[in-house]
C-alpha cells in the first residue's frame, strides 16, 4: 500500500515538472496532495490515533479542496495567459528531474544508516518533492508557479515529517497547516496587486529595485 502511495507522489511530481499550463500544474498539485492524504490516512488507520485522523482530514480540506480552488480562482480572475513561463523546456526539465531523483536517493542513503530500505525510499521521495519545489520556483517565471513550488516543497516536508520522524507534535502540525494556508492567501493577495500595478505576473520582469 505504502509503495503505491509513494509511487503516486513520485508520478504527480513528475507531472508537475512537465506541465506547460497553470491549470495542469494545479491539478497535479491536487493529485500529489491527495496521495499525501492517503499516506496520512493509512498511518492513522494503522496507529488508531485521533490526532492523525484530524490531521489527514485537515490535509484533505486545505490542500486538496481549498488551496487548488483558490489558485484556480486567481487564474480566472486575473485573466493572464495560462502559460507557466518555462525558462527551461520540457526535455531539459525532465533531465533535471532525473538528476534530482538520483540526488535525493544518494542524499537519503547518506542520512539513514544501513538496513532500513523502506525508510530510504520514503526519504528519497520526500527530498525529491522538496527539490522539485525549488526547481519550480527557480525555472518557472510566473508568480503563481512560484507559489505552487513553495506548496510542493511543503508537501515534501509533510511526507518527511509524517513518515520518517513519526510526525510533529499535534498542535505544531495544526499551526503549520494554518500558516501554509494563510501564506497562500497572502501571496494570492500580492498576485492581485502585482497584476493590477504591472498588468502581468511575470516575476522576471520585476526588476525595478537593483543594487
Amino acid at each position: 500500500m505504502q509503495a503505491i502511495i509513494l509511487f503516486g507522489v513520485l508520478v504527480s511530481t513528475y507531472l508537475m515538472i512537465i506541465a506547460k499550463r497553470l491549470p495542469a500544474l494545479i491539478s497535479s498539485f491536487r493529485i500529489q496532495s491527495f496521495f499525501l492524504f492517503l499516506a496520512t490516512l493509512s498511518i492513522a488507520v494503522n496507529e488508531r490515533q485521533l490526532d492523525l485522523y484530524i490531521i489527514s482530514g485537515l490535509l484533505f480540506l486545505i490542500k486538496v479542496c481549498i488551496i487548488p480552488h483558490f489558485l484556480y480562482r486567481i487564474i480566472k480572475k486575473i485573466k493572464v495567459s495560462e502559460d507557466v513561463g518555462m525558462l527551461l523546456n520540457v526535455q531539459i526539465s525532465l533531465l533535471f528531474a532525473f538528476f534530482l531523483t538520483y540526488l535525493s536517493w544518494a542524499l537519503s542513503g547518506k542520512i539513514i544508516s544501513i538496513g532500513n530500505q523502506a525508510q530510504v525510499v520514503v526519504l528519497a521521495v520526500s527530498f525529491f518533492a522538496i527539490l522539485t519545489g525549488v526547481f519550480l520556483m527557480i525555472f518557472r517565471i510566473t508568480a503563481l508557479s512560484q507559489i505552487i513550488g513553495l506548496l510542493v516543497m511543503e508537501n515534501g516536508l509533510f511526507l518527511l515529517a509524517a513518515t520518517v520522524s513519526g510526525g510533529m507534535p499535534f498542535f505544531v502540525e495544526i499551526a503549520i497547516f494554518f500558516d501554509v494556508f494563510v501564506s497562500v492567501v497572502i501571496m494570492g493577495f500580492f498576485i492581485y496587486r502585482i497584476n493590477k500595478l504591472f498588468t502581468h505576473i511575470d516575476v522576471n520582469k520585476l526588476s525595478r529595485l537593483k543594487g
Partner: protein, 485 residues
C-alpha cells in the same frame, strides 16, 4: 508572570486598533502600551539575567524562558517602543500630507502590533516547531508593511521578501524535522522542546545533526540576511515604512539569529564547537565582504543602511562563531547595540526622505541646515554605526576582534578590520556629502515633532551610556557566555 503581560499588551493593542477610530490619538496609546512592555521586559531581564542567571521561567510546557530569551525580548521591546514613539509623528505627517487615508493608518497600527506580537513570541516559545511558526508569521505580517504604500517598487519588494523568506524558512523547517528525526531514532521519547533536547544532544546521531544544522543555517540565515541569501533584504528595508525598517533591521533579523543560536547550542553539544563555529564564521565573513562592496557604490540612502545591516549581522555571526568568552559577549552586545543604533539611523533616514522626497543620496544635500536636530543625530549615529569610540558598537566590535586575536584566528581578525575600515570610509564619504554640502534652493528649516525627538533621544541615550554600563555587568556577561554553549 511578566511574560504574559509582555505578550498580552500587544494583543490588547490589536483589539484596540480594531475598534479605535482615530489613528492620531491611537498612536499615543500605542506607545504607552509599549512603554509598559519595555518596563516588564526590563524586570524580566533583571530576574533572568542578573538575579538568577541559571534560572528559567516555564509555563504550560509551551513558554520557556532563560537568560538568552530574556535578553532577546529586552532588545525587541526597546526597539518596538522606539518605533511606536516614532510612528506617532511619522503617521501623523503621512496623514496630514494625505499620503495615506485614516483607514490605512488604522491598518498600519493593527499590523504593527501583530508584527511585534509575533516577534515577542519567537524567544518565548519552547517548541522548535512553534518557533518556526512564529518566525513565518513575522514574515507574513511584515510583507504587508513592506508593501504598505502600494507603489510598484514596494509591491515588488514585498513579493521578493515573502517568496525568498518563505523558501528559506521551508528549508529551516526541513532542518527542524531532521532534528526531530535525530531525536526520534535515538530511542528517546519524541519531543521538539529545546530545553529537553539540549541535555541529550550528545547521544544524537552526529551526521544527521550536521546536515540538519546546514539547513537551519541556510534557512534561518535567509531570514537573518546572511549573504548570499540576503537579496530580499535591501529591497524590503528600503521600501518599508521607516519605523518598520527599524524594526526589520533592529529586531527581525535578530530573531532569526536567536533561532540559529537555539539550534546551534544543540549542535555544539552534539558535534562539538568547531563545526558550528567555522560555519558561522564562514557565513559572517561572506556577508561582510558582500555588504562592503555594496556599501561603497550605494546611491539609495535606505539601501545603504540595509547593506550595513547585512554587515552587522555578519559581525554578530563571526562573534558567535569565535565562541566563549569574548566572542559571545561581543556578539550579544552587538545584537543590542546594532539594534539601537540602526533604529536611530532608520528614523533619521525616514525624516530626511520625508523632507527631500527622494531616496537618492546624490540629491540630498545640507541636511544639517534644513533639519538641525535630525542632522546632528544622524551625524553622531553614523559615527556610532561605523564603530567610533565612545559609542556602543565600538565596544562590541572591539570585543569580537579581541576574541579573534586571542583565539589565534589572525585571518578572521584581519578581514574584520579590513572590511570595517573600508565601510567606515564609505560611510563618512556618503554621509559627509549628504549632511553638509549646499542646501537645495527654497528649503525652509524644518522642526521635528516632539514624539520623533523623544524617540531619537531615547535611542541615542542608549547608544551613549552603553560603554559606561559595561564595567558594572561584566561578571554576569562572562558567566552567561561561559554557560551558553
Amino acid at each position: 508572570m511578566q511574560i504574559f503581560l509582555i505578550l498580552g499588551i500587544p494583543v490588547i493593542l490589536i483589539l484596540c486598533a480594531l475598534v479605535f477610530k482615530r489613528p492620531k490619538v491611537f498612536g499615543i496609546i500605542n506607545s504607552a502600551g509599549y512603554l509598559m512592555v519595555l518596563v516588564f521586559s526590563i524586570i524580566l531581564l533583571r530576574k533572568l539575567f542578573f538575579l538568577a542567571p541559571a534560572g528559567f521561567v516555564s509555563y504550560l510546557g509551551f513558554i520557556y524562558l532563560d537568560s538568552l530569551s530574556a535578553f532577546f525580548i529586552f532588545v525587541t521591546s526597546v526597539v518596538s517602543f522606539a518605533a511606536s514613539l516614532y510612528s506617532i509623528g511619522y503617521i501623523r505627517n503621512d496623514l496630514d500630507k494625505e499620503k495615506i487615508t485614516e483607514k490605512k493608518a488604522r491598518i498600519y497600527y493593527l499590523l504593527f502590533n501583530l508584527f511585534c506580537l509575533a516577534m515577542f513570541f519567537v524567544p518565548a516559545v519552547s517548541n522548535l516547531g512553534m518557533l518556526w511558526v512564529s518566525i513565518e508569521i513575522t514574515t507574513l505580517v511584515s510583507a504587508f508593511l513592506v508593501g504598505f504604500y502600494n507603489t510598484k517598487e514596494s509591491v515588488e519588494a514585498a513579493w521578493k521578501y515573502i517568496i525568498i523568506c518563505s523558501l528559506g524558512i521551508i528549508l529551516a523547517l526541513l532542518g527542524t524535522i531532521l532534528f526531530s528525526y535525530a531525536f526520534a531514532i535515538s530511542g528517546l521519547s519524541r519531543s521538539l522542546n529545546w530545553q529537553e533536547m539540549v541535555p541529550v544532544a550528545h547521544i544524537l546521531d552526529k551526521n544527521i545533526l550536521k546536515i540538519a544544522f546546514i539547513f537551519i543555517l541556510v534557512g534561518y540565515g535567509t531570514k537573518a540576511g546572511l549573504a548570499p541569501m540576503h537579496t530580499w533584504l535591501p529591497d524590503a528595508h528600503s521600501q518599508a515604512v521607516s519605523p518598520i525598517s527599524a524594526l526589520l533591521s533592529g529586531v527581525l533579523l535578530k530573531t532569526a539569529i536567536y533561532a540559529i543560536l537555539r539550534f546551534g547550542i544543540i549542535v555544539v553539544k552534539g558535534v562539538g564547537f568547531a563545526y558550528f563555529g567555522n560555519l558561522m564564521i564562514l557565513f559572517g565573513v561572506i556577508s561582510l565582504a558582500i555588504s562592503c562592496g555594496f556599501v561603497i557604490v550605494q546611491k539609495d540612502l535606505k539601501r545603504l543602511l540595509a547593506y550595513s545591516s547585512i554587515e552587522h549581522i555578519g559581525i554578530i555571526c563571526v562573534g558567535f562563531g569565535l565562541g566563549p568568552v569574548f566572542g559571545v559577549i561581543g556578539a550579544l552586545l552587538h545584537v543590542y547595540s546594532h539594534a539601537v543604533t540602526k533604529s536611530l539611523m532608520f528614523f533619521g533616514a525616514g525624516n530626511i526622505i520625508n523632507v527631500y522626497k527622494k531616496h537618492n543620496m546624490n540629491v540630498i544635500r545640507g541636511v544639517i541646515k534644513v533639519m538641525p536636530f535630525t542632522g546632528i543625530m544622524v551625524l553622531l549615529g553614523m559615527f556610532a554605526l561605523a564603530g567610533f569610540p565612545p559609542f556602543s558598537i565600538f565596544f562590541s566590535e572591539f570585543l569580537i576582534i579581541a576574541a579573534a586575536f586571542l583565539k589565534g584566528s589572525y585571518l578572521v581578525a584581519g578581514l574584520l578590520l579590513l572590511f570595517l575600515s573600508v565601510i567606515f570610509g564609505a560611510f563618512v564619504f556618503h554621509f559627509g556629502k549628504m549632511l553638509f554640502g549646499n542646501t537645495p534652493k527654497d528649503m525652509a528649516v524644518i522642526k521635528e515633532p516632539l514624539s520623533v525627538k523623544l524617540s531619537f533621544l531615547f535611542l541615542f541615550f542608549q547608544v551613549c551610556v552603553f560603554g559606561a554600563v559595561l564595567p558594572f555587568i561584566k561578571k554576569e556577561l562572562v558567566w552567561f557566555a561561559q554557560r551558553l554553549f
